[in-house]
């Protein structure tokens, strides 16, 4: 992700800025190198950095002073944060710090996997139905059908079908997200279809696939990026909600969602059990969204088309 964005960024400074509207497009001071990048896209820098930190935490979880996150010790339950238990212990005496650190693995995987699966499927369906009119009716009715069931309820129903596991949680959340992506992509396609440059391309006899690829796909990227960040963020939160309802990842695999879900009844007594995973989850989601916002600005289709 970082690699592709820096590619775009290499081009971005070349963009001419319309001089007549300074209050909308403030002049860009050209700087090169890392500092220039950070200054121009602070949201990408901050978001990316935070995500990188979370990813490192997830990868190196066993080396970060953690103990077995599932080891029970009922004798030392519900301890407040202390030197021995940085984030305190939960109702089964498990170390909340270790659980939160290991939990980053599950939450990140859920976030990434869901947005990848949902965007890939949704984009395909959206493009097809936006551009091929006869297919549109069928695809969109099917999407409507899936979508008319609120996503969380659909995910709960899907989870009721099977047993709690990380893979099943990913599948259940993805299925519920696909129609949203499809609709968004289709919406963009619909409004672009009537644009002069597309109509011109059609009139010039350009092949459909080429039109899709050259004119439509690039224009879906910006909204799709925003949507993808939203999906991975909401997937992590949906995972927490599924746990809240008791239909999420199995409790023996710690995820931020089920740590909070387990501690929620006691949040007035031992807030640390809910507080720390909530901070981690919020920070990660925040980071993903900042990154998305930054990318969106950098990938602005209007700017890109000029190049």
């Amino acid at each position: 992700m970082t690699a592709s964005s820096s590619q775009e960024l290499a081009i971005a400074p070349e963009v001419a800025v319309a001089p007549e509207l300074p209050e909308i497009w403030p002049p860009v001071r050209r700087r090169r190198g890392f500092l220039g990048f950070v200054l121009k896209h602070p949201t990408i820098a901050i978001g990316g950095l935070l995500i990188l930190v979370m990813a490192l935490i997830a990868v190196f979880a066993p080396y970060l002073g953690t103990v077995d996150p599932t080891a029970l010790a009922p004798a030392r339950r519900l301890r407040p944060p202390s030197r021995d238990y940085w984030f305190g212990t939960d109702m089964l005496g498990r170390d909340v710090y270790s659980r939160v650190i290991y939990g980053s693995r599950v939450s990140l995987i859920v976030g990434i996997a869901v947005s990848a699966v949902a965007c890939a499927l949704g984009m395909m369906i959206g493009l097809l139905s936006g551009f091929i009119r006869w297919l549109d009716a069928i695809l969109m009715r099917v999407m409507d059908g899936v979508m008319s069931i609120p996503s969380i309820l659909l995910a709960i129903a899907l989870m009721a079908l099977t047993r709690g596991s990380v893979r099943n949680v990913i599948i259940a959340i993805s299925i519920a997200e696909v129609p949203r992506v499809a609709r968004l992509v289709r919406g963009v396609v619909l409004s672009l279809r009537e644009q002069p440059f597309v109509e011109a391309a059609v009139a010039a006899g350009t092949r459909r696939f080429m039109i899709l690829w050259r004119h439509i796909v690039p224009n879906t990227l910006a909204p799709l990026t925003v949507q993808a960040t939203y999906i991975s963020a909401s997937a992590m939160i949906t995972e927490a909600i599924l746990s809240f309802i008791g239909a999420g990842t199995p409790p023996i695999i710690p995820s931020w969602g089920n740590i909070m879900a387990e501690g929620r009844a006691l949040w007035e007594v031992t807030p640390s059990i809910v507080f720390f995973p909530a901070i981690f989850l919020s920070l990660t989601v925040l980071a993903v969204n900042l990154l998305g916002d930054g990318l969106r600005d950098a990938l602005d289709p209007r700017l890109m088309r000029r190049i």
């Binding site: 008319s148 949040w267 920070l283």
Partner: protein, 313 residues
């Protein structure tokens, strides 16, 4: 236009049938068994089998489904396995709280979020933009139930301004009704405020960079006029889409909010029904959701033509 509305409604009926079939078959293969739940912890396997037979749950899937569709066509949604109450009655009891919560949340979100988004877009890149966006992002990076607990703790337990939980019907007075809904609406609204503000900003930026806006600006129209007359109107399509999507999302978010604030709404009814496998209730509710969804999206699509005359049907 009328032809379009008519076509939409006609093409929608098969969708609803498909959804019904899908959901019904989905839960049919699900491993739960309402008879076992009814019989309780004490029951023997024989007793469960008896109950299952008396509920008609031992009949083949297709027979039960055809039976169900046949009844629907006669306007009968069936009877709940657990409560023996008509499903239509159970849904009717719970429509008001959910609908009230959703309408209030939506109003709240739109009123707060659109000015936020417009403002952020107008001041793009400044600290105003950053603060608004960070606030918006925080809104949806915090799990609904955490927001709910914190709001309840501060405003209900500590300050004693509002009740902790429960629901008062509108018939019992507007203020008591509103009192019970304010905290849930803000809880549920967090996500939608964030979502709508972000999309508003994104779309506004897109529109603001269009040539005609620059032209309007160059013609000497005030910035405010440009912003609200030209830009917002053109940004309305994606914003409307998101609000339309939001309605379905709201029902989902309502599940958690209704649990946290003990509101007797449709979300909780559905989750309880799924977890207990109360098939007639699940089917009835899903049917209702698809109906509501179709309706909302029809309205949204019609709004597209109002906001963006380039879109024709």
């Amino acid at each position: 236009m009328l032809g379009y509305v008519f076509r939409r409604i006609v093409t929608t009926i098969p969708v609803m049938a498909v959804v019904a079939l899908l959901v019904f078959s989905l839960l049919y293969i699900a491993p739960g068994d309402p008879a076992a739940v009814i019989a309780g912890d004490q029951a023997s396997p024989e007793q469960i089998a008896h109950i299952r037979a008396s509920l008609g749950l031992d009949r083949p899937f297709l027979v039960r489904f055809v039976d169900w569709v046949w009844r629907i066509l006669h306007g009968d949604l069936g009877t709940s396995i657990f409560t023996n109450l008509p499903v239509s009655h159970m849904i009717a009891q719970r429509i008001e709280p959910t609908l009230s919560l959703m309408v209030l949340t939506l109003l709240l979100s739109v009123v707060i979020a659109i000015p936020m988004g417009v403002m952020a877009a107008a001041k793009q890149g400044t600290w105003v933009d950053r603060v608004i966006m960070v606030l918006a992002v925080l809104g949806f990076s915090t799990p609904v139930f955490v927001i709910g607990y914190v709001l309840a703790y501060v405003f209900a337990l500590q300050l004693n301004w509002l009740p902790v939980q429960g629901y008062t019907p509108l018939a019992d007075g507007f203020w008591p009704f509103l009192q019970n809904l304010i905290l849930p609406a803000f809880t549920l609204g967090g996500i939608y405020i964030a979502l709508i503000a972000r999309i508003t900003r994104t779309s506004m930026l897109e529109v603001l960079s269009q040539d005609y806006v620059r032209t309007a600006r160059a013609k000497g129209l005030g910035f405010g006029t440009v912003l609200f007359v030209h830009a917002l109107k053109n940004a309305a399509v994606p914003i409307t889409t998101v609000i339309g999507l939001g309605v379905a999302l709201l029902i989902g978010g309502a599940v958690v909010t209704e649990s946290v604030f003990a509101i007797p709404g449709l979300g909780r009814l559905t989750v309880d029904a799924i977890l207990r496998r109360d098939y007639p209730v699940i089917q009835g509710v899903v049917l209702l959701f698809s109906f509501a969804y179709v309706l909302v999206n029809l309205i949204v699509d019609l709004l597209y033509t109002v906001f963006d005359p380039r879109i024709r049907y």
